[in-house]
């Protein structure tokens, strides 16, 4: 299994290199990162622009810039950012932390909801519960993330104003934490961060819940219709035991791997939630680097997000091998 994992990781290195090269080529050739500097009023002195160009290796052709970037990467440096004050290395890890906080909690919430809802719907197929779960699953599956997020944000603002006191609030609707806290004890810091998480987490969780509950329902239905469930019942096991030991345990295997794969996707996919709630996470970083043509920042984003995709796809596969004795990786 270890040999399999190492082989998989080695194969992914050229995959990451090729995709980074493609994105680099596209972004490096699509616009001038110093555009903003050239149109300032009063005009920026040409020497400053030349210095900036030098700092960003813009005096080299784009493919040589890619090579320089690879060299820097080899020395553990993600490269110079268009924003002079920003260090890509520290920036990308901070932002990853912010995004992970959002995604991990949202997924945990979605997972619990989806398992409970999916299993209940399958066990009581064609019941009111089933129809309700199915209805909401389909509804959230069809709802654009950004629309739902704005809706929740507005609902939060409305609820904040309900008591007529403009100072008090139940929900934070912008930012991943308060810029300034009156009394920064650890407890206040914690509740502040937690308070900021509620709305973004719920909006991300609802969308994720939609596809997972559908998935869990059909996986559970398939298992419930299987011969080994029939034999387990024929043995004289009580229905509750058949459900928990045989049906649930087996029907959770596919969801485990889907969770691992979707988790990787959500690191990049949280972009909309982050934009709407003003979180300085990975998603915002992607948008910022793309709009400012900050190609080295974008490369850092791509490598981190890509590595997470590769890693979690591998974890999904390995998990399958651990949970399902029929699968062996060698």
């Amino acid at each position: 299994m270890i040999a399999y994992a190492i082989r998989r990781l080695l194969i992914s290195i050229p995959v990451l290199i090729v995709s980074s090269f493609l994105v680099f080529a596209m972004i490096a050739n699509s616009g001038d990162p110093l555009e903003a500097l050239r149109v300032t009023n009063p005009p920026t002195p040409p020497e400053t622009i030349a210095l900036e160009a030098k700092r960003l290796y813009l005096d080299l052709p784009w493919y040589e810039r890619y090579w320089v970037w690879m060299n820097n990467l080899w020395h553990g440096e993600f490269g110079p950012s268009v924003n002079v004050r920003e260090n890509i290395n520290t920036e990308v890890w901070t932002r990853l932390g912010v995004t992970l906080r959002l995604v991990l909690v949202a997924m945990l919430l979605a997972l619990i909801l989806a398992i409970v809802a999916g299993v209940t719907a399958a066990v009581k197929q064609y019941s009111k519960t089933d129809y309700t779960v199915t209805f909401f699953g389909f509804l959230f599956l069809a709802t654009p993330t950004f629309w739902l997020a704005i809706l929740l944000k507005e609902a939060g603002i409305t609820l904040n104003q309900i008591d007529g006191d403009p100072e008090s609030r139940m929900f934070y609707t912008y930012g991943d934490r308060s810029v300034f806290l009156d009394d920064p004890t650890w407890w206040n810091k914690f509740t502040d961060v937690a308070g900021h998480m509620i709305l973004p987490t719920v909006s991300l969780a609802l969308i994720t819940f939609a596809s997972w509950s559908r998935f869990q329902r059909s996986s559970m239905l398939e298992v419930l219709g299987s011969d080994y469930i029939r034999l387990a019942r024929a043995k004289g096991l009580r229905w509750r035991k058949v459900l928990t030991k045989h049906a649930l345990r087996t029907a959770l295997i596919p969801l485990t791997t889907v969770t691992a794969i979707d988790f990787a996707g959500l690191i990049g996919g949280a972009v909309i939630t982050e934009t709407i709630f003003g979180w300085a996470g990975m998603g915002q970083y992607l948008i910022d680097s793309v709009t400012t043509r900050d190609v080295y920042a974008l490369m850092a984003w791509l490598l981190v997000a890509g590595a997470i995709v590769v890693l979690f796809n591998l974890i999904a596969d390995l998990l399958y091998g651990v949970l399902d004795p029929r699968i062996r990786h060698d």
Partner: protein, 333 residues
């Protein structure tokens, strides 16, 4: 003998579907005495599996079951699932057709056998495991100790079916229902599995309901036999009666389509042409009439009931008398 274990009376099973109501079983009645072996033959779709699933209450919730199933005088139909689980495995055990799919892929063989022991006995895990090991040895699995920790996919089809038999034996049931236990297996393995089944009967003293479409299996392992067609029993009797003096054209046809080693002359096989009727919105009359060389207008109007044609021998044919001493070749040419 009054030692009747299982009485099935006028059992009828309907499935409502989008296309209409499918009547899979139509008024089947039989009795099973302690220790006896009853064979049930019929083509696929004749309702033989549905009948036995109905006995154990294992049909999908949408199935509509009517009639009566009594075990030791107690009515089983209409009981709740938890009550039924007291009978399942302990009084009546079942073996299914596809051993490949009958075992849960994520649990070890030992776990799945001892689980059956634990379901009905208040014993510790180690006692249950010991019993599971004994059972594996009884059904003839080599290296039983190692196999306890094996997962189903690591065993061959024949081995898996022996594990399923071991599970059926676990609580010394009074009745074992074996639903096509050998159909999915290679011929050479079939014999071993049937042998394991015989061992299971000897060890537990259980009565056996052996469901199969293989007349050869019935001949070797059943005392009495019932032939099913389109959801009904169309002929019942001792194996000798049904095999040597069939009184229903369908039974005769089945026998005629079977190659025989003891044939005196070089006989040709006589197949029954056509296919069984759709169970959906079935037409009135005898369901076999479209394939029957003896069919008349009477058969289209009236469905024949089981007529007593001898001691413990009955057949559902208006013309059962014409079949006395008939050869398949003479009727199906």
């Amino acid at each position: 003998m009054t030692d009747v274990l299982l009485e099935v009376e006028d059992l009828t099973v309907d499935f409502p579907t989008d296309d209409g109501v499918v009547t899979a079983v139509r008024g089947v009645s039989y009795t099973l005495r302690r220790g006896e072996s009853l064979g049930i033959v019929g083509e696929s779709g004749s309702g033989k599996s549905v009948t036995s699933l109905a006995v154990l209450g294992l049909l999908p919730r949408t199935a509509r079951v009517s009639g009566s199933v009594r075990f030791g005088g107690k009515e089983l139909l209409g009981r709740g699932d938890n009550e039924m689980s007291q009978f399942r495995g302990r009084k009546i055990a079942m073996i299914f057709q596809d051993p490949l799919a009958s075992l849960n892929p994520v649990y070890t063989v030992g776990n799945q056998i001892s689980e059956a022991v634990l379901a009905h006995n208040d014993v510790g895990k180690d006692v249950a495991n010991k019993r599971a090991l004994d059972l594996l040895e009884t059904v003839g699995i080599p290296h039983a100790k190692q196999r306890m920790d094996a997962y189903p996919h690591e065993l061959s089809g024949g081995m898996k079916q022996r594990v399923v038999i071991a599970i059926a034996m676990a609580n010394n049931p009074d009745v074992i229902i074996a639903d096509e236990p050998t159909t999915a297996l290679d011929v050479t393995v079939q014999a071993q599995v049937l042998e394991a089944l015989e061992t299971a009967r000897e060890a537990t003293g259980a009565a056996l309901v052996l469901i199969t479409h293989d007349l050869g299996v019935i001949a070797g392992h059943a005392d009495r036999v019932g032939v099913m067609y389109a959801g009904r029993l169309v002929e019942t009797g001792t194996v000798d009666d049904v095999f040597y003096k069939p009184r229903m054209p369908y039974t005769l046809g089945l026998l005629g389509s079977l190659p025989r080693i003891d044939a005196k002359t070089h006989e040709r096989l006589t197949p029954i042409s056509g296919a069984p009727p759709s169970l959906l919105n079935m037409p009135s009359g005898c369901p076999f009439r479209a394939r029957c060389p003896l069919a008349t207008e009477l058969c289209a109007e009236q469905e024949p009931q089981l007529f007593g044609v001898g001691q413990g021998h009955s057949a559902a044919c208006h013309f059962h008398e014409r079949l006395i001493d008939a050869q398949p070749r003479e009727i199906f040419n």
